[in-house]
């Protein structure tokens, strides 16, 4: 048996899966406690990029981040293990099942496994390849240029949705949705968009994510009128979305398989 085959079989071993899953559970339990106590160390991970974060916050706060280093390694091992195991099984199904009716639906779990690997790869690419400009604030009427001449974003004003009622008395008159009205321009193209929490706007290859806004009260409150955004470029989001699409395909095959068995 060649060295390559021995390594391939060992990497795809179910025993390895069990050991890694056990270690992952242990590591994530430690991570849960560490995150609770040291959230501030991990918040910049979303802005500064994985390698930069590992070299600064990660190494500097070794006691609080060791579990994260271990998590990266364990996820890598689990991904390799899943890939080998799934590929072995896939080859077996294709070889033994081809020609029989409905053999394709047996691929469902393996398609979903590949999808999860793709989603994980998307996350890794996102941490490695994405760039982020946090804390960009605008007042009504002000504009900012996106990097590399990708376009201009102008904050026009709010069209807020305000809570009125006495069910939550303390929140009467507070803004439920800011509805920040944006005008986006690039190379003569103009588009209007509405920005909210959990409702980002994409323009010129960049995503605009709302971090904060004021006033929070319908009748002004005491702060200046502004929105604060993070501008993010994440080319790997396509990988992640492709993974999700593949997962949906796998789910569809799985449901189809159940239907056939019935």
């Amino acid at each position: 048996m060649s060295f390559f085959i021995r390594v391939w079989r060992a990497v795809g071993s179910i025993h390895l899966t069990v050991v890694v899953c056990f270690l992952l559970t242990l590591d994530l339990a430690i991570g849960y406690l560490s995150l609770r106590a040291n959230l501030g160390i991990f918040v910049p991970l979303g802005d500064v990029g994985l390698f930069s974060w590992l070299q600064t916050y990660g190494v500097h706060n070794w006691h609080a981040t060791a579990w994260f280093f271990a998590l990266l390694v364990l996820l890598t091992v689990l991904s390799l293990n899943t890939f080998v195991c799934t590929t072995d099984r896939l080859v077996h199904i294709v070889k033994s099942g081809r020609g029989r009716a409905g053999w394709r639906v047996k691929l469902a779990p393996h398609v979903m496994h590949y999808a999860v690997l793709l989603i994980l790869a998307g996350y890794v690419c996102s941490y490695v390849l994405s760039s982020s400009l946090p804390g960009r604030a605008l007042r009504p009427g002000e504009s900012l240029d996106l990097p590399d001449g990708a376009g201009v974003v102008t904050f026009v004003d709010f069209a807020p949705e305000i809570y009125h009622g006495n069910r939550l008395e303390g929140f009467d008159g507070y803004v439920l949705a800011a509805n920040a009205q944006l005008v986006l321009t690039s190379g003569g193209v103009r588009r209007e968009a509405v920005l909210n929490f959990n409702s980002p706007v994409y323009w010129g290859g960049y995503g605009l994510f709302m971090n904060d806004f004021a006033p929070r009260k319908g009748r002004g409150g005491m702060k200046q009128t502004f929105i604060r955004m993070t501008i993010r470029r994440d080319p790997s989001s396509l990988v992640y979305l492709a993974g999700l699409a593949l997962f949906v395909l796998g789910m569809g095959l799985y449901v189809f398989d159940r239907g056939m068995k019935r």
Binding site: V20, G40, Q55, T56, F69, P134, G170, Q224, R228
Partner: protein, 368 residues
């Protein structure tokens, strides 16, 4: 056996490789400092700092060349010579660093200051009241020619950008933990070139914390709460705030330990009263000047408050004195005082300097 070897090769080796890659960055590690979400990263020609809003600023020597990729208002020439500070906390830290002569503007008028050094600076015209945070006087700010504005309010950033004044946001979306609170001086020190002073300040506080830990070891844990019921809202210090961590460090139970979020976070009245029935010690936000002169006076401001145990004769209630929030240069003394309030038996003869214990009722004033 093969499996163990495989796990070793696939898990431990990459781990060691990452470590060794990080060892190559040993120099970077030495020059990097993070204080909670704040960070200071020393580069070859400038210092990169990340503020509480996640903005990255470049600190360059005065007259130096600005690095590429930074907008003009994201570049600060250091040491800064003219500073506007929003919070008394920053003013206190500036005092600890010995840079009070750089302060040129604050958001509280002269009669609201109770610490040395400030009032004479108002009189000499060096320090100006730039308006309340909700009604800033931008003309006055411009006239003070600040090199830097230190603010908790990110909403002023666009306006300051248009005035060409760099801003550093000194608060984070969630409350500062104890470590961030006591090390904050290390974050602002590079703006003033006072890293050594910040280290000395931090060491003084660490010594105080070690003393607190030692003195309170093994003591029976009292239950403490920190917050207030106001006219329309109930605000408390969450479990992730520095006061909550300090209470825990001083062998005590903080009753809002499960609440997470920003400082002065809103909770329901029912939650406040539920914890209040078990509490031994209560810290109110109000100073005596704002009505916290006695337990009875506090209960008059909101009758619901009378239901919390510390407002009854068997509990203890403390109010901060006006200079408490302006004395961050004496943070070691403040931490020690809070510990002394929690465990008076561990600090025999301790005289309160920053808090006052409220009597059951206001003293009767003779009409004569």
């Amino acid at each position: 056996m093969r499996l163990i070897r495989l796990v070793f090769i696939s898990a431990v080796l990459p781990f060691l490789m990452i470590l060794s890659a990080c060892q190559d960055e040993a120099e970077k590690k030495q020059s990097f400092l993070n204080v909670g979400e704040f960070a200071v990263n020393k580069k070859a020609t400038y210092i990169e700092v990340r503020d509480g809003a996640g903005r990255t600023l470049a600190l360059i020597p005065r007259g130096g060349k600005a690095p590429e990729g930074f907008a003009p208002t994201m570049v600060v020439e250091v040491p800064v010579q003219r500073v506007i500070a929003y919070r008394p906390f920053e003013v206190g830290v500036m005092k600890a660093l010995g840079v009070m002569d750089t302060l040129v503007g604050v958001t509280a008028p002269k009669d609201k200051w109770f610490i040395d050094d400030i009032r004479p600076r108002f009189d000499s015209g060096q320090v100006a009241f730039i308006g309340d945070y909700s009604r800033l006087d931008y003309e006055r700010i411009k006239a003070q020619h600040p090199d830097l504005v230190m603010t908790w309010d990110p909403s002023i950033v666009p306006m300051m950008d248009s005035l060409g004044i760099p801003v550093v946001v000194t608060s984070t979306p969630v409350a500062s933990c104890l470590s961030t609170h006591i090390r904050f001086a290390e974050f602002i020190a590079p703006f003033f070139g006072k890293e050594a002073e910040a280290q000395a300040f931090y060491q003084r506080i660490r010594t105080a914390l070690a003393d607190i830990r030692e003195r309170t070891k093994g003591m029976k844990a009292p239950k403490a709460m920190w917050g207030d019921i106001f006219e329309k809202r109930v605000l408390v210090e969450p479990g992730n705030a520095w006061v909550a961590e300090l209470v825990g460090l001083a062998q005590s139970d903080y009753l809002f330990d499960d609440v997470y979020g920003r400082s002065c976070i809103e909770i329901s009245t029912e939650r406040f009263l539920y914890s209040g029935k078990d509490a031994d010690i209560y810290f109110t936000y109000r100073t005596p000047a704002r009505g916290a002169t006695s337990k009875a006076a506090l209960a008059r401001t909101n009758p619901l408050l009378a239901r919390v145990r510390p407002l009854s004769p068997e509990g203890r209630t403390y109010a901060p004195l006006p200079h408490y929030s302006q004395s961050s240069d004496r943070l070691d003394e403040i931490l020690t005082e809070i510990s002394a309030i929690l465990h008076p038996q561990a600090y025999p003869g301790h005289q309160l300097k920053y808090f006052v214990e409220l009597p059951d009722t206001d003293p009767q004033v003779s009409k004569d």
